[in-house]
């Protein structure tokens, strides 16, 4: 979340709660709503690393609030993040490790493992379909995020099918 917060602060200085709201507004329900405690912890670390700085802003009848802004070093870190290519999704899959290793120990049947995993993926797909229906189509980032998740899941299922085909002699 560090760089997401830096990116939001590059737009304008903000306090913690505004950052939480900005994330929610941008990604809608397609993104797990960040918890405010996590945001403050992350902001604290960014400040310690010199990537952001905080100023206290007085409020009339409430405690001061901290407004954060980006430092030059923060700007550099953000630029470096944007410029570097991003890692693709993981290739070494936890399920695949199970599939290969479990039969060696005799604790599981591979056909059963694959069937169970497929049912699980299909359940996830159903959830994503429901999420599409519940998401405002005008929220493009949310829609694209969901569609990306669906495409990844489809690829996982296709791969599962390949694994299953491989079981038959």
């Amino acid at each position: 979340m560090r760089l997401h917060l830096l990116a939001l602060l590059a737009k304008e200085p903000a306090h913690g709660y505004e950052l939480k709201q900005a994330l929610e507004l941008t990604f809608g329900s397609a993104y797990p709503s960040p918890n405010i405690g996590q945001i403050y912890v992350t902001l604290g670390r960014l400040e310690k690393d010199g990537l952001i700085r905080a100023v206290d802003v007085e409020q009339s009848n409430r405690p001061n609030k901290k407004v954060y802004y980006l430092t030059a070093a923060g700007r550099e870190a953000l630029d470096a993040w944007v410029d570097e290519p991003t890692e693709g999704p993981r290739v070494r899959d936890e399920f695949f490790m199970k599939l290969i290793l479990a039969p060696l120990t005799g604790i599981a049947d591979r056909m059963t493992l694959i069937n169970r995993q497929r049912r699980h993926y299909l359940g996830l797909m159903r959830d994503l379909t429901d999420l599409t229906e519940a998401t405002d189509p005008a929220n493009r980032p949310a829609m694209l995020l969901i569609e990306g998740a669906m495409l990844h899941l489809q690829a996982d299922l296709d791969w599962l099918e390949r694994c299953q085909e491989d079981l038959t002699p």
Binding site: S29, P32, M111, R119, H120, L122, L124, M125
Partner: protein
Amino acid sequence: MQSGAVVRTVNLVKIYQTGGLPVPAVRGVDLEVADGEFVAIMGPSGSGKSTLIHMIGGLDTRTSGEIWLDGQRADTLSESGWAVLRREKVGFVFQFFNLVATMTVADNVELPALLGGASARQARERREYLLGELGLTERAEAAPAQLSGGEQQRVALARALANQPRLLLADEPTGNLDSRNGRDVLRLLRDIHEKGQTIIVVTHDAKVAGMADRVVMLLDGQIVDDGRSVRRTSSKRPGGAGDVIELRG
């Protein structure tokens, strides 16, 4: 014979004979589909999915075993007997559409309803509803050749549903569709399913399979899994669905 089943196969076998070499495509399938159920058939290419639903729809003969449709033994019927049963009870969406090239989209969709005994007005109304649901109202007067693959696919689905068949059989109904058009098909399938339509669909598309009540997995002509998919977040608070995205990340 259980009365609730719309489809029942017993030890169903299909062996193709190609140049003397037997190709076993379906090897002993027992499948029962209840009234109103939505079943997805998945499996790798060549695993026998099309062969299986062609046999259930009477479009291909079985080598051995039994097929029951709506309580009636079907595999022993004559070709004309099958034709009548099919016209009355089955809507079929082919993997490669099979639209009548010389008829308009509207006529392609109305024809089965008219053959099934609907009045011209009923057939037209049904056609207008289905084409509307699938975003094809504008294309009603076009010829199939003037449509994209995805549009033809949707016309084929509309045609299969024209007759309000007891059983809808569909072979890869979203196979040629991009995600938006696929969504129209998915919605229509869900809507008719909610209205009680019995559906068997062959699909690689996990969105379609996820929608089904039950998924049957074929491998080498045999069923290797038959059951429900596992819902994760249905009982959770809203926002739980966001976790799915995080998991996929």
